[in-house]
């Protein structure tokens, strides 16, 4: 089975072909992003005189710096809140076998099936009444609640597979429950926290529908909404649009390639649980 025969070679070539096929759009993306607008040759031929002008122009006209900062603020705050409240909630929900605890857990799981359009339209009105529309805080509040079901689900599944002996020992030794959570349970949750961190970050960073609703018309846009606005404004200038797309993809891809091992394992492991 470990011999590298002709069949393996054929499979290798087929898989590389598949990867090139998947990578083709990204090649075109970069190729057109560095192309001067005056050059109208075929999009698949390599650009003959590459330039970085499109990037500076897109960065300034799209106000991408501000959008990047907003996305970062919203993502960091939401993910920190959701991980904190979800891990804390998972502790009693996984350990207490009373009926209220099971009922609460099932209610939270129900949230997994609800399409967010149902909740986010009425919530739009509440956010408006609270004066939060158009501010990043509306989004932080929204994601902090929206991501609870999935994150609690991950934590409870993981906690149930862990023996409670260490916490019991800590409680008998005189720890308060909060201390035992902080110093005993939380460190044991580290593997699933990494998974939850990755999955939540990707979900919040990439979301488009909610910021489109809650931030529309404000200057405080997140990156996906800023990109959509930019495309709407420069409909025909695709070289400029592609430069903006590259700028918005770059941080995600950079982080991805740096952390690819734990990201891929997180996706697979977290969802397998």
């Amino acid at each position: 089975m470990n011999r590298y025969g002709r069949r393996t070679l054929a499979l290798e070539l087929a898989m590389i072909a598949a990867a090139l096929f998947v990578g083709f759009p990204v090649y075109v993306l970069v190729n057109l992003a560095v192309r001067p607008t005056s050059d109208t040759s075929s999009p698949i031929g390599p650009t003959t005189s590459p330039t970085l002008d499109n990037f500076t122009q897109a960065w300034q006209q799209g106000a991408l710096g501000g959008a990047l900062a907003n996305s970062l603020l919203v993502t960091v705050c939401s993910v920190v809140v959701v991980l904190a409240v979800s891990s804390l909630a998972a502790y009693p929900l996984a350990r207490i076998t009373a009926r209220w605890s099971r009922g609460t857990y099932l209610t939270i799981l129900l949230g997994l099936a609800l399409p967010f359009q149902l909740a986010s339209l009425p919530l739009y009105q509440t956010m408006r009444d609270l004066g939060l529309l158009g501010t990043p805080w509306a989004l932080v509040l929204f994601y902090s609640g929206l991501q609870v079901p999935f994150t609690v689900f991950l934590y409870v599944g993981f906690l149930r597979a862990l023996p409670g002996d260490f916490e019991d020992a800590a409680l008998i030794d005189g720890c308060t429950p909060l201390q035992s959570f902080r110093y005993v349970v939380l460190p044991m949750l580290k593997p699933i926290t990494v998974t939850a961190l990755v999955l939540n970050t990707v979900a919040v960073w990439n979301d488009f529908f909610t910021p489109l609703l809650y931030l529309s018309g404000s200057a405080q846009q997140t990156l996906p909404v800023a990109i959509a606005g930019f495309v709407g404004q420069y409909v025909t200038d695709w070289n400029l649009i592609f430069a903006a797309l590259v700028i918005s993809i770059l941080p995600v891809l950079l982080v991805y390639f740096l952390l690819q091992r734990s990201i891929i394992n997180g996706f697979a492991g977290g969802l397998k649980g």
Binding site: A89, P92, F267
Partner: protein, 315 residues
């Protein structure tokens, strides 16, 4: 000879003598209930209460702004039956969800089998094939909008390899546009399915494969009899994720076609957005969201039942 008390305690034939804890186990070890409170409050404020209010609005004629609105009973749902756009959107939603589920999982499984084999580039390929799944969907959709244009890279590529006759207006042709949306979504998420299948494949013990191989089972037979049953949990998760994701699909449609040409690619999600925020028909729009919820619930319940039967049969 009498045993000293401490020797009695380690007597192998008897359990060690420990004073029983008078408290019940739950009272001894359980964390307090209020740990769950912050998460519950956030969940109730953001998801639960608005969802219940949403169901109420579905029976009203609210326009999203006017504080005066009235209860109209089932009118919104009756209107939906007479609204060809809504019926078409529901149909598109189901079609897209099923097509994405089938194609994405088939492709994902093939890729997973490929990168789980003995090929040398398998680690690099895993990283590259998964990459589209982390990129912002709205961004990949705009990228593809250009690639699939009449003068876009896809048509150029077809021309360059001598298939100029296969050039199409991928997004402008009402017959094709829906399939282009499916294709782009599969391009983005096939690697996602691949990774989950890969995790399942790696739980298949190598020894069983080798034993089957020694017994003369070919690759197809080994896949069907050894690998497939052990892949059942991965398949369950993949099918759930892709069908629910497909039903709720919004970003790709919004950025690729905006629901057009005409209404050829409108889904329930895009129609909800248009009705609420461009037409001000908030009550009607939220009734559509209720229909979307019912579809998600029915599909996932049915799928859950079928798949857990399948998993039991496979194990």
């Amino acid at each position: 000879m009498a045993l000293a008390p401490h020797e009695r305690l380690v007597d192998k034939d008897r359990p060690p003598v420990v004073a029983p804890d008078p408290r019940p186990r739950s009272a001894r070890t359980t964390p307090p209930w209020w740990f769950a409170l912050p998460a519950m409050l956030l969940f109730a404020f953001v998801v639960l209460v608005p969802s219940v209010r949403g169901v109420y609005y579905a029976f009203t004629d609210w326009d999203g702004l006017d504080p005066d609105f009235s209860f109209v009973g089932l009118d919104n749902f009756a209107d939906m039956l007479g609204d060809p756009d809504a019926k078409q959107a529901i149909w598109h939603t189901l079609l897209i969800a099923v097509a994405i589920t089938v194609i994405q999982n088939a492709v994902g499984l093939l890729l997973a089998l490929g990168v789980n084999s003995a090929i040398r580039s398998r680690n690099v390929l895993r990283v590259f094939l998964f990459a589209p799944a982390v990129i912002t969907p709205i961004v990949t959709a705009y990228l593809w909008r250009n690639l699939l244009g009449p003068d876009g890279a896809v048509n150029s590529l077809l021309g360059a390899v001598g298939l100029g006759g296969a050039r199409q207006d991928w997004l402008g042709d009402p017959e094709l546009a829906l399939w282009s949306v499916v294709g782009v979504t599969v391009w983005q998420y096939a690697g996602y399915s691949m990774v989950i299948f890969l995790a399942g494949l790696q739980s298949v013990p190598k020894e069983i494969h080798e034993a089957a191989s020694m017994d003369g089972a070919g690759p197809v037979r080994r896949f069907w009899s050894v690998t497939r049953p052990l892949l059942a949990p991965a398949l369950t998760i993949n099918l759930m994720l892709s069908i629910i994701g497909g039903i709720k699909l919004f970003d790709q449609v919004y950025a690729l076609t905006g629901g057009g040409p005409g209404h050829a690619t409108d889904t329930i999600s895009t129609l909800i957005y248009k009705d609420a925020f461009t037409l001000g028909e908030f009550g009607y729009s939220i009734a559509l969201a209720v229909v979307l919820t019912i579809i998600v619930a029915v599909v996932s319940a049915g799928q859950y039942a079928a798949l857990s039967r399948n998993e039991r049969a496979a194990s």
